[in-house]
Amino acid sequence: MRNSFNNNKIKLEEFEALIQLTAEMSKVLYPYIRQILQSRDDLIRNPKPWTEFKSRYIELISERFNTNSMKVKRLIDSSCNDEVFINILLTLALCISDDGSQKLRTILFNY
């Protein structure tokens, strides 16, 4: 899906480190993640955080991912990507506990 010709295979240690980093980042960023989720819950009264997050996320995907792929096309299609984005945010929001990295790892393995 990535817009790169290099097929860099990730090592297990790197994968573990990335998971720990993501879990620690989600702890710090929880207030913002929560604000975006809350905005989506109440889109009529407070749409700004959700629309800003969504447009920036789509922008980043378009820059870095292969937009010719059907999966990526579906991901950047505003009409059907809400569920995926909510799932990503909720996964991060539920991994802010002390054993958050373990939880995140299990969720990713189950995905």
Partner: protein, 206 residues
């Protein structure tokens, strides 16, 4: 006797635990091992409270529902005390059924942000050194989809029966062929033996 009280907060949700330490186990006086009361307070929503069994049941429901929700498996969880189902991808409906008679079930609608706050409060409680006797690990363990599939006995029999039947049938058919082949083989071996004897006798004669 003065009871201990601990509060676990996360944005719009706070969980209050009241109880006593287990003095028979020589526990620290600041700990809580015997939970007498708990309250889950969500802003703009009614207070949820009960005893230890209710807390365990609610924690189990929330963890189970969150795991299945993230894995796109089921969209509802039902138990004697609490039902959770998703109305859509950003609204969850809690139906709290009281254990007391003549008390109507309580319906609470929450969004993803409040849902995440509640899970965070439960995470704080289960990782706390002060409050013990929660046993939340069993609820928190996320079972792999494949393990869930294997844990279902019906699906195991469905999964194993066809290859097992095919293996048995292959074995039966092949064993019949081996029997026939052995007979032929013996026959051919005897023939070869006769030929060899005849060659030996010819060579002796010569």
């Amino acid at each position: 006797m003065l009871q201990n009280k601990y509060l676990f907060n996360q944005s719009s949700v706070s969980l209050e635990i009241v109880g006593l330490p287990d003095y028979s186990n020589n526990e620290n006086k600041d700990n809580i091992s015997i939970i007498s009361q708990w309250k889950l307070m969500i802003i703009d929503k009614p207070v949820i409270e009960g005893n230890l069994d209710h807390l365990r049941s609610i924690m189990k429901a929330f963890y189970f529902y969150s795991n299945s929700f993230l894995n796109d498996e089921i969209e509802s969880y039902e138990s004697d005390l609490i039902d959770i189902k998703s109305e859509n991808f950003y609204t969850h409906i809690l139906l709290l059924k009281s254990s007391k008679p003549n008390v109507k079930p309580l319906n609470i609608t929450i969004g993803n942000s409040v849902f995440a706050d509640i899970i965070s409060c439960f995470d704080q409680l289960s990782s706390s050194n002060k409050v013990k006797n929660i046993y939340s690990k069993e609820y928190k363990s996320i079972k792999n989809k494949r393990n869930l599939f294997l844990s279902n006995k019906k699906s195991i029999s469905k999964f194993l029966l066809p290859p097992l039947v095919s293996l048995i049938s292959i074995f039966l058919v092949s064993s019949a062929f081996i029997y026939i082949y052995d007979d032929n083989d013996k026959f051919s071996f005897l023939n070869n033996k006769n030929i060899l004897i005849s060659i030996k006798s010819i060579s002796k004669l010569l």
